[in-house]
């Protein structure tokens, strides 16, 4: 595929790797914030090639994995309602609620559960099943939210009544701030998420660079992209700098995508949000505005979130900060396995706990 294959090319990756090794002058720790970065690093085998001075820490950047058990519980309750059909991204299908049950179980019990590729596909479901309420599960960060906002607007514009969104939308900076505010968290650089940055602009990381003295580099998702980003980061660290740099210029500008952000602001407002493994983080989520409350599944179905009862013992918060390893968690390998995940680090197939489990069995 054009604009993908070029950046996967070994003839590019190999010299970039050499340049990276050359640029690294001392050990440093990088948090790759974004789950898609984690995934790409894993799939390309990059982790096995990086100089050992670079320690990669996977951040809280998989929106599916950080969806809290109490949100899943609420979703399972909606799935049981008569005349309700749940539309969702496939990633969410197997994420468990507080009793270990997921939408895969709900589906097996007769809940109507449809996997869609795009939120717009759920409007087609609404047309196809006029007697049902289609509840789209709104998960995602800055990249995904604008499309869901646009879908709500499209529903309104086409007077589709039987459609609502259950919003668990999250924004990226707050959990990063929460992690970075922990003095014990020692990281030197942030590999900033490429597609989130397409929306919020590379400039959004300036405060992080300034406040926490972090080398912030926005990177694309192909191996060469990541290597280039790491080279820039290594150079900053070697030079004692802490700037925002953009290594993904083909997709990311310094400024935000204002069409997308305006769409989000029109439909959503900030709200407190619970994160799996991290608890409630103030102002870290997005709720549907009053004006669009008709499209808000939470209000329309009068859903009350049962206060977070995260499984006792999950150490994800500490693991995400790189302060602990999975085997220190009392649930690891016992109550918490890839087949029956408890925390986000096990839910994500490339999460730290899942990877640890898989490769140490």
């Amino acid at each position: 595929m054009k604009y993908l294959d070029e950046f996967r090319d070994q003839t590019l990756a190999e010299p970039l790797l050499k340049e990276l090794r050359r640029s690294v002058t001392k050990p440093f720790r990088v948090m790759e914030v974004c789950g898609t970065h984690t995934m790409s690093i894993f799939r390309s085998g990059l982790r096995t090639l990086l100089p050992e001075e670079i320690e990669l820490i996977s951040g809280p950047g998989c929106p599916v994995c950080v969806t809290s058990a109490s949100h899943i519980d609420a979703i399972l309750a909606m799935a049981e309602l008569q005349n309700t059909r749940i539309a969702l991204f496939g990633d969410l299908f197997r994420v468990p609620g507080s009793n270990g049950l997921s939408l895969a179980n709900a589906s097996s019990q007769g809940a109507k559960v449809d996997i869609v590729y795009s939120p717009m596909d759920s409007l087609n479901l609404a047309r196809k099943y006029p007697e049902e309420l289609i509840v789209f599960l709104g998960v995602g960060f800055e990249t995904t939210t604008p499309g869901i906002a646009a879908t709500i607007l499209a529903a309104k514009n086409s007077a589709l009544d039987n459609f609502a969104v259950f919003s668990t939308h999250k924004t990226m900076p707050p959990p990063l701030l929460a992690l970075l505010d922990d003095p014990e968290l020692q990281i030197d650089g942030l590999l900033c998420p490429g597609h989130v940055s397409s929306i919020i602009g590379a400039g959004a990381y300036q405060p992080l660079a300034d406040t926490y003295k972090l080398a912030c580099v926005v990177g694309g998702f192909e191996p060469a992209d990541i290597l280039q980003a790491l080279i820039l980061m290594a150079r900053q660290i070697a030079n004692g700098e802490a700037r925002v740099e953009n290594a993904y210029t083909r997709a990311v500008r310094w400024e935000e995508n204002s069409r997308a952000q305006q769409m989000v602001r029109a439909i959503f407002k900030t709200a407190d949000m619970e994160w799996r493994g991290l608890g409630v983080i103030p102002e870290s989520g997005l709720a549907i505005r009053e004006e669009y409350s008709h499209y808000d599944a939470e209000r329309r179905l009068n859903i009350k979130l049962t206060p977070a009862t995260e499984p006792k013992g999950c150490r994800c918060g500490e693991i995400l900060k790189g302060k602990e390893v999975p085997s220190q968690c009392p649930l690891y390998g016992k109550r918490c396995t890839p087949g029956n995940p408890v925390g986000p680090c096990m839910v994500s197939s490339e999460g730290t706990c899942a990877a640890f489990f898989k490769y140490t069995q």
Binding site: M1, L4, R8, D9, Q10, A13, E14, L17, G35, T36, M39, F42, R43, S44, G45, L46, R47, T48, L49, C62, P63, V64, F89, G90, D91, F93, R94, A104, D114, I115, V116, Y117, D121, N124, L125, V139, G140, T144, P223, P338, S349, K358, Y359
Partner: protein, 339 residues
């Protein structure tokens, strides 16, 4: 057969309506003297060698898709499973479960495909069974085929025969069938030149058995559900060895790769319906590759890796940039993702 031209419950009654279905559709297209006897079981001449036996049910949705239909899968799938043990397929059974209301025209279309595939692979359908369930109790048509094959004396092909140093051949591109089905499902609409690879592998395998020195073809496996990733794990586990494969050597069609990128899927986990893995003694691998490539179903064949000493059961993939990752078996049905 009935004014509404659909399957009725009576077609499964075992009575006159069933007999009409048999004579007007099944025997019309599948005719051979053994099937036509309509006895409780088929009786055939035996052949020297061991007996191979396999079964598979087919429940694919949609039932018609580019590159084939549920009927072509049903014939090819069981022929291929027999072939994977080095057997020469002898015959197939055909078990149909039909939904009340299923269109007779669609049934005939499926049976015609079955007849064509069976004929072209030279493996007759010798016995069958048809059940009808009330509307809403199945999805249009489910098919079971079982098959018998003969493993000639001296042939011994199985996962446990795989040996350290064996080279791993793959007969063609990965993911064609899986991605074709997924993009035909409601909710996910991609257009493009995707088509299932539904095909019978018995000729390809016969060629390998005939032309390679006896004992040099160790293992065959068709990477259907679970994809090549899962099949390689099964082989590694059965052989008690490690597998190492090269990502860049694995053939994947550009359009399949593009569809996978869009939906966040990995072609190594997608089903194939006309491909096989072959583990061959290293000195015969080049010849085996050339033989595969000389067949219509094997033109894209490649050597993708080898069996190594190492952690028993582990499958390691060398990536395009020279890294490596461990390939686990499929965890759950592949689904389109956003991250």
């Amino acid at each position: 057969m009935n004014p509404g031209n659909t399957i009725l419950l009576d077609h499964g009654s075992g009575g006159i309506a069933s007999q009409e279905l048999i004579s007007q559709i099944f025997l019309k297209h599948l005719d051979n003297s053994i099937l036509a006897s309509l006895e409780d079981s088929a009786v055939m001449e035996n052949h020297p060698g061991k007996i191979a036996f396999s079964t598979d049910s087919y429940v694919v949705d949609p039932i018609f898709f580019p590159g084939g239909n549920i009927g072509t899968l049903a014939v090819h799938g069981t022929i291929n499973d027999l072939t994977m043990r080095g057997a020469r397929p002898l015959c197939l059974s055909l078990g149909l479960i039909l939904e009340e209301g299923f269109k007779l025209d669609d049934l005939e279309r499926v049976i015609v495909s079955i007849a064509e595939c069976a004929k072209s692979a030279d493996v007759p359908i010798v016995t069958g069974d048809t059940k009808v369930v009330p509307r809403g109790k199945c999805d249009k048509i489910f098919i079971n085929t079982s098959g018998i094959g003969i493993v000639e004396d001296g042939v011994n092909v199985s996962s446990t025969m795989a040996q350290e140093g064996d080279l791993i051949l793959l007969s063609g591109s990965m993911g064609d069938h899986g991605i074709t089905i997924m993009t035909r499902r409601a909710g996910i609409s991609l257009d493009g030149n995707l088509a299932s690879d539904s095909a019978a592998l018995n000729e390809l395998v016969a060629l390998l058995l005939d032309k390679l020195p006896s004992g040099s073809l160790h293992t065959l496996r068709d990477p259907t559900r679970g994809g090549v990733a899962t099949s390689l794990n099964e082989i590694a586990a059965a052989a008690g060895l490690a597998v190492e494969i090269d990502d860049q050597a694995i053939p994947v069609k550009p359009e399949v790769r593009a569809a996978c990128e869009i939906m966040g899927l990995d072609p190594l986990y997608l089903a194939n319906e006309g491909k096989c893995l072959a583990l061959v003694a290293p000195e015969q691998a080049a010849k085996a590759l050339q033989l595969m490539r000389s067949t219509a179903v094997g033109t894209d064949a490649a050597i993708i890796g080898s069996l190594k000493a190492g952690k028993a059961g582990q499958v390691v993939l060398r990536t395009a940039i020279g890294g490596s990752r461990i390939i686990t078996p499929l965890h759950g049905e592949p689904l389109p993702r956003i991250c």
